[in-house]
């Protein structure tokens, strides 16, 4: 009997010891865990962060039918000039005029890369050149792009263009070259410098329409999110469930 008691006591002692050890370890590791939980390290490194999701809100009721200010602004910003071949020239943004068959209501809107959350172009790219940056901008890494144009086929919005001719007059902030695919970058070169105003939005405002609004979709207090909520803005081809970053109001 006494040996049994002694055995029990030893077990209890061991149990107590292990419990104390466990508590000590947990207490010691807590400070180490805290910084990663707060996510502070991502911002400290600089660069894009998933805390923001950049997007556009386009108010089609303000968009004028004959106007192409956004297109001109984008082309000027990125050094996109005609090459004499209209069919194959690059276009990062284009104007579309729609007419409802039932009501004969006409709508005009700019169509550009929608920066989808589940972008088909990113899914199909064989090299990983088409990628979504941490802050939601879908880009083509032209160092990796092999020019297969699968992304152009996959895009439901025909947002991507292929460059067929050798280019010589590129602007320093917008590298473009023959044999790669390109599309709207949401003016990432401006955003990364803190200028949160893409060329299309700036042009539209200069023209007086202010139909294009840029902002952080992840911030519930931002102007764009409030405007989207108020106007019940929708995605073009919402049936594809792509969760686009570009929303259209009054479609």
């Amino acid at each position: 009997m006494s040996s049994h008691d002694a055995h029990n006591n030893a077990d209890l002692a061991r149990r107590h010891f292990l419990r104390k050890l466990g508590v000590l370890t947990a207490a010691a590791s807590l400070p180490a865990l805290l910084p990663t939980v707060s996510g502070a390290s991502v911002k400290a490194l600089g660069g894009a962060s998933s805390e923001q999701r950049w997007g556009l809100l386009i108010d089609t009721s303000k968009c004028a039918s004959g106007c192409d200010a956004c297109v001109r602004g984008c082309n000027e910003e990125h050094g996109i000039t005609g090459t004499g071949n209209d069919d194959t020239d690059a276009q990062w943004i284009r104007k579309i005029d729609l007419k409802d068959n039932l009501t004969s209501e006409e709508t005009s809107l700019p169509m550009l890369c929608q920066h989808c959350d589940s972008a088909p172009c990113v899914d199909v790219c064989p090299t990983g050149a088409s990628f979504k940056r941490a802050d939601g901008i879908v880009l083509v890494n032209k160092h990796t792009c092999i020019g297969c144009r699968y992304c152009m086929m996959a895009c439901p919005y025909k947002a991507r263009s292929f460059i067929h001719e050798p280019l010589t007059d590129q602007l320093s902030h917008a590298p473009r070259g023959k044999g790669t695919v390109e599309s709207c970058t949401l003016c990432v070169h401006r955003i990364d410098k803190g200028n949160l105003n893409p060329a299309c939005a700036e042009s539209c405002e200069r023209e007086g329409y202010s139909a294009i609004q840029f902002g952080d979709l992840n911030d519930p207090d931002s102007d764009i999110v409030k405007a989207i909520t108020l106007s019940n803005a929708e995605e073009v081809r919402a049936d594809l469930s792509l969760n686009t970053g570009v929303r259209y109001a009054n479609l």
Binding site: L45, G47, R133, A134, H143, L167, Q170, S172, P175, G177
Partner: protein
């Protein structure tokens, strides 16, 4: 003495590279963002690996930006127009032709800085107008015959000398950039 100097200069400048290595045009300012030795051995790593940081992560606040490289190392011709940095005998090609390593950066990236206020047009690859300037007339003519560009100050690098050690142009009275 002076005619002899000119003759010697003529003969020496016939080569775009000699047994001492490629002749590389001098860049703006006193020094590059890193040592010449470091740059010589590592610029390709900076260009290749740094670009992933910039494109994929959006980190642009490094000193090794390609735009900055072009800004400092680009040369101007006699018309005060920029010459494409990937043109023959310019900064990149002077070494890359010597080592026979083809580079393709500037089929996409801008080879000249964005239009500056004092230039009307950008220098196109392979074409150049030159104005005879009396002190360097012979040099200009000879360079034009060889390369199609007006030769600007060129430095010959040796293994031990830094760019700033070469003071050839001071003797000749050629104007600094």
């Amino acid at each position: 003495m002076r005619p002899l100097l000119f003759v010697l200069l003529f003969l020496s400048s016939l080569a775009v590279a000699n047994d001492k290595g490629p002749i590389i045009p001098k860049g703006k300012g006193d020094a590059c963002v890193a040592d010449t030795d470091f740059m010589r051995r590592n610029h390709m790593d900076l260009i290749v690996h740094q670009r992933d940081e910039t494109v994929i992560k959006g980190i642009r606040d490094e000193p090794f930006s390609l735009v900055e490289c072009v800004d400092c190392h680009v040369q101007k011709n006699a018309n005060n127009e920029f010459i494409r940095i990937d043109a023959q005998d310019q900064f990149c090609a002077s070494c890359h032709t010597f080592v026979a390593a083809k580079i393709d950066c500037f089929s996409c990236h801008a080879a000249v800085p964005d239009a500056m206020p004092d230039t009307n047009a950008r220098e196109k690859l392979g074409s150049s107008d030159w104005l005879p300037v009396v002190p360097s007339l012979m040099l200009a003519v000879q360079n034009k015959m060889l390369t199609g560009h007006v030769g600007l100050e060129a430095e010959q690098l040796t293994d031990t000398e830094q760019l700033s050690d070469i003071n050839v142009d001071r003797e000749l009275g050629r104007s600094k950039q």
